[in-house]
């Protein structure tokens, strides 16, 4: 095996789990949670703003920017404690992904996703225990699959 420079630098811990560091970081995350709502509000406002740009100028570049905003939300909303926002954002990102060759993205379907994200955030909807929210998420996902299937 080649030399392990990182191990020489920072040492080794049995099982690779530094429990002291994990406890400190979890405590820091608890403190940070107070900011999560504001962060998510920022990210959702940004999504809505980019959606406005895409509605006016539905270019490939705007679609890409809207995709990145949805993709960000998909990855982060769960961390912030909003799984419904993450799920709907994931569906929106699927619709907008460049890998999908459909040239025209239906704005109404984009808007349905953005509205669902805004409501899920405003009402702190938990998809796990809200049947209406679960049905809405499922319906949006089905519409995207239908759209991508052509």
């Amino acid at each position: 095996m080649p030399p392990n420079i990182l191990k020489a630098k920072v040492g080794s811990v049995a099982g690779g789990i530094d429990m002291g560091a994990i406890k400190r970081a979890e405590a820091a995350m608890e403190t940070l949670k107070a900011e999560f709502n504001d962060w998510l509000a920022d990210d959702i406002a940004r999504l809505a703003m980019i959606r406005g740009g895409f509605a006016n100028t539905p270019t490939k570049a705007m679609r890409s920017e809207l995709f990145r905003a949805a993709h960000d939300l998909k990855g982060q909303a769960d961390t912030y404690g909003y799984p419904m926002v993450a799920r709907v954002a994931s569906s929106l990102a699927n619709l907008l992904d460049e890998a999908n060759v459909n040239p025209v993205i239906p704005l109404a379907l984009v808007d349905a996703h953005v509205a669902a994200i805004q409501v899920a955030f405003r009402d702190k909807v938990n998809v796990a225990n809200d049947a209406v929210a679960a049905a809405l998420a499922k319906e949006l996902e089905a519409r995207v699959i239908e759209e991508l299937a052509g």
Binding site: P2, P3, N4, I5, K7, K9, M29, Q76
Partner: protein, 174 residues
């Protein structure tokens, strides 16, 4: 020893979302990492790699300009790279097999799927510290061996040697 000496580590955190950067940096600081560098897009990340010469790069995939895969490829193959062996942990919302494969083919060491958790960050750092993979160089690839750990289980012929392109395994770790 009771824990890693994270204060000796230099980590570059790259994400175009300032909140995600703050989240990851908060975790790293709580771990004890002192030398943290940050970049908000791929172009700045590539500059930061050359200037700061980090020990570990935590790299978002989806960014405007140079994306995470392109930055990783520059780190591995550009003549300007200060360290082609630096471990790269890709932080992303992508979790599908084809995306993981694409990241692997760009020379990524570890894949950290969002949502981010403290334990997941620790696990990926521990992986690059404790179990670095050997590096492989072929005509079309340079980076960590793309066979997962447990490669000893493979008993067949050495496929890279059988292939037309020459290869070198185990050049260095990190």
């Amino acid at each position: 020893m009771s824990g890693y000496r994270f204060e000796r580590l230099r980590v570059l955190v790259v994400d175009d979302n300032p909140h995600m950067r703050k989240l990851v940096i908060t975790i790293l600081q709580a771990f004890g990492v002192v030398h943290i560098f940050e970049a908000c897009d791929g172009d700045k990340a590539w500059s930061a790699v050359r200037e700061a010469n980090p020990d570990v790069v935590i790299l978002d995939w989806m960014m405007a300009g140079l994306n995470g895969l392109e930055v990783a490829q520059l780190i591995r193959t550009s003549p300007q790279t200060p360290n082609p062996f630096v471990p790269v942990i890709m932080l992303t919302g992508y979790t599908t097999v084809d995306k993981v494969r694409a990241a692997r083919d760009a020379g990524i060491n570890e894949f950290l799927a969002k949502p981010v958790s403290v334990k997941a960050v620790m696990s990926r750092l521990a992986a690059v510290i404790e179990q670095p993979r050997p590096y492989v160089r072929t005509k079309s690839y340079f980076g960590p061996c793309r066979r997962r750990r447990g490669q000893d289980e493979y008993k067949g012929p050495e496929r890279r040697v059988l292939a037309a392109e020459p290869s070198t395994v185990g050049a260095a770790a990190n």
